[in-house]
Amino acid sequence: MEQQITIEPVTRIEGHAKISLFLNDSGQVADARFQVTQIRGFEKFVEGRPFFEMPSLTARTCGICPVSHELASAKACDQLLAVTIPETAKNLRRLLNWGQLIQSHALSFFYLSAPDLLLGMDHPPETRHFLGIAAQDPQFARDGIRLRQFGQQVIERLAGRRIHPSWVVPGGVNTPLSEETRTDLLNDIPEVKNLALSHLQRFKQSLEQYQEYIEHFACFPSLYLALTNDANTLEHYDGRLRIIDQQGTLLKDSSSPTEYASWIGEAIEPWSYLKFPYYVPHGYPDGMYRVGPLARLNIAARCGTELADRELDAFRALQAGPIQSSFHYHYARLIEILYAVEMIENLLSDPAITDQRVRATAGVNNTEAVGMMEAPRGTLIHHYKVSNDGLIQWANLIIATGHNNLAMHRGILQAAQRYLGHGELHEGLLNRIEAVIRAFDPCLACSTHAVGHMPLDVQLIGPDGTRLKHIRR
């Protein structure tokens, strides 16, 4: 008898999604689909708009990482102007980006994933959320809130508001940093650095108890894609696009941003609005790659800051070659938070950060440009073509979550084969599949360019195509 269990709404992921699991004749999970069920169409409706609007317009894709879109867009617009922006403007944009990285990573780890880790995958869903954490371990919750608050305050103090600031403009930023703000932010550094360090230590000490999840949460070899710089250190704002294979061997080091289109393909499946980017030389779907904190730490030779480099050494000791388990996205996120705090301190310690020259002005000097940067979830690409008057004629956005689409599918299949198909489908098992998705910290709202909160459906489909079970929440 068909059983339907409705669990609604799904919490702790960003966007709308549905999972379908397909069984073979022997009742084993043979295939999995992670279906993203709505579209927003940014690429289309930006057509005809002046490119000076693009940083703020594309920022509306997301309320969590608007800064990423602003920066990728502004970098593309800088190229349309054909200007080199002032060094201070570049560093201010970097500060803004690290503020966002801290708040987004803190949201992912402390708010969205910690309930699974601290309370347990089988903890009753009624209290398996951030408030449940706050009840059980109030200090942990307070620390998570404080770290996120610091990241948000970096954004607010630099750019005037926490969400959708219009401070980043083509050619730079529109106001310099005041000495007062520099001092205020520097005063907060010791506290947040301690918080970042202590929660990293706590997570490392707890790793042993997550061994089961480390081995089955999207744990497989894949390619990795991220930006890297000449020093081969962790890079979030600038640099070249690099892809490595499962052994860590360099496959491609792109010299020109516009080159991406020749080796990143975007496959389309009729059942999802989220495209499937792949590495073209390996074909679809074999060209699966991962982006984000895990990919960045797998690609960079070192972080470039003292404390984060020490932590990176410990991270690398987990496994020879690139770290394969997507569970370690959590670990990588915590290292990146520490790195971001150290880098914010470094940049703010240089008085040149308050230089008043923060914007280059020009007209349209190029009609095609690509802006790339590392969003919290991975590489973000904005590609524009404009008319001679500077009106957008065509736009292509490749969002971090999109890059991870193939790997998320594979991860869901791996977890479903581990946890389902042997009997009753129950909530705790379902939550393990969700937890795989959460490890990637997907932003479906961004990646389909969707809105709203996220009903997640899981369907179990028999070999004849009939729906055996359906869990929705």
């Binding site: 002046p50 609007e53 940083p55 703020s56 219009s166 008319s387 500077g390």
Partner: protein
């Protein structure tokens, strides 16, 4: 030269006086009585098209636009009533629903008269379905941009160009809902042979419909030229 005739009237219960050639709006402003306006701008002719300055006059059944109604002896005028507020809110809502006014990503965000009026009048939602017309942006001019999506057809640009600059580059093409601001005979602005690139139209535009090229979101702060000063100087020169 005859002395100007002085008339007395009552506005919102306040006894006021003005010259016979003055409008209700002028006398109200002289007496610190605020009446919302949009198409009106000091120094330009008044056309009474936006209808935001409608006031109630005792003895008449219909509200009248204060910017084009001359004062009369003994008039009793009300500038604020629930009916008038409803009319004004409705006008603002209709303006928003007519074109694509996306304040959050507009160059004039936080510096827009339409937005300010909406805020002042408590317009927190639009009860009419949006028309979302597909309208072009004319960025052909070297220094300025015309975005029809943000235009409310107040015609300040048309009037300032014709009456102050004397170029009369701008005009209205089409009729009714299909009306559009147009340069010369429907030329791209950058190809206009009459435009002097003085920028007055940009500075008097109440919204983000006309703006300086290179301005990003919320950066278009309009610097209103003192039009009466320009008029006065030019009149003196002509004499």
């Amino acid at each position: 030269m005859t002395a100007a005739q002085i008339l007395t009237l009552t506005i919102d219960g306040k006894h006021v006086s003005g010259l016979a050639h003055e409008t209700l709006l002028q006398v109200a402003l002289e007496n610190d009585i605020a009446i919302p306006t949009l198409c009106c701008l000091e120094g330009l002719s008044n056309q009474g098209s936006c209808r935001l300055c409608m006031v109630e006059i005792a003895g008449t059944t219909k509200p009248q636009p204060a910017c084009v109604t001359l004062i009369q002896e003994g008039m009793v005028v009300i500038t604020q009533s629930e009916n008038l507020r409803t009319y004004r809110r409705t006008i603002i809502e209709l303006l928003f629903s007519e074109r694509n006014h996306i304040c959050a990503v507009c160059v004039a965000n936080e510096h827009c008269e339409l937005q300010t009026l909406a805020r002042d009048l408590g317009v927190d939602h639009i009860s009419f379905p949006g028309r979302y017309p597909a309208l072009p942006v004319d960025a052909s001019h070297d220094r300025f941009v015309l975005d029809h999506n943000r235009c409310i057809l107040c015609t300040r640009c048309v009037r300032v160009c014709a009456e102050i600059e004397g170029a009369h580059t701008w005009d209205i093409q089409g009729r009714g809902i299909r009306s559009l601001i147009t340069a010369d005979f429907n030329s791209p602005w950058g190809q206009s042979t009459t435009c002097t690139s003085c920028g007055k139209c940009v500075q008097v535009c109440p919204t983000g419909a006309l703006f300086e090229k290179g301005r990003s979101v919320a950066e278009m702060l309009k610097k209103r030229p003192s039009l009466p000063y320009l008029v006065s100087n030019r009149t003196r020169e002509q004499q």
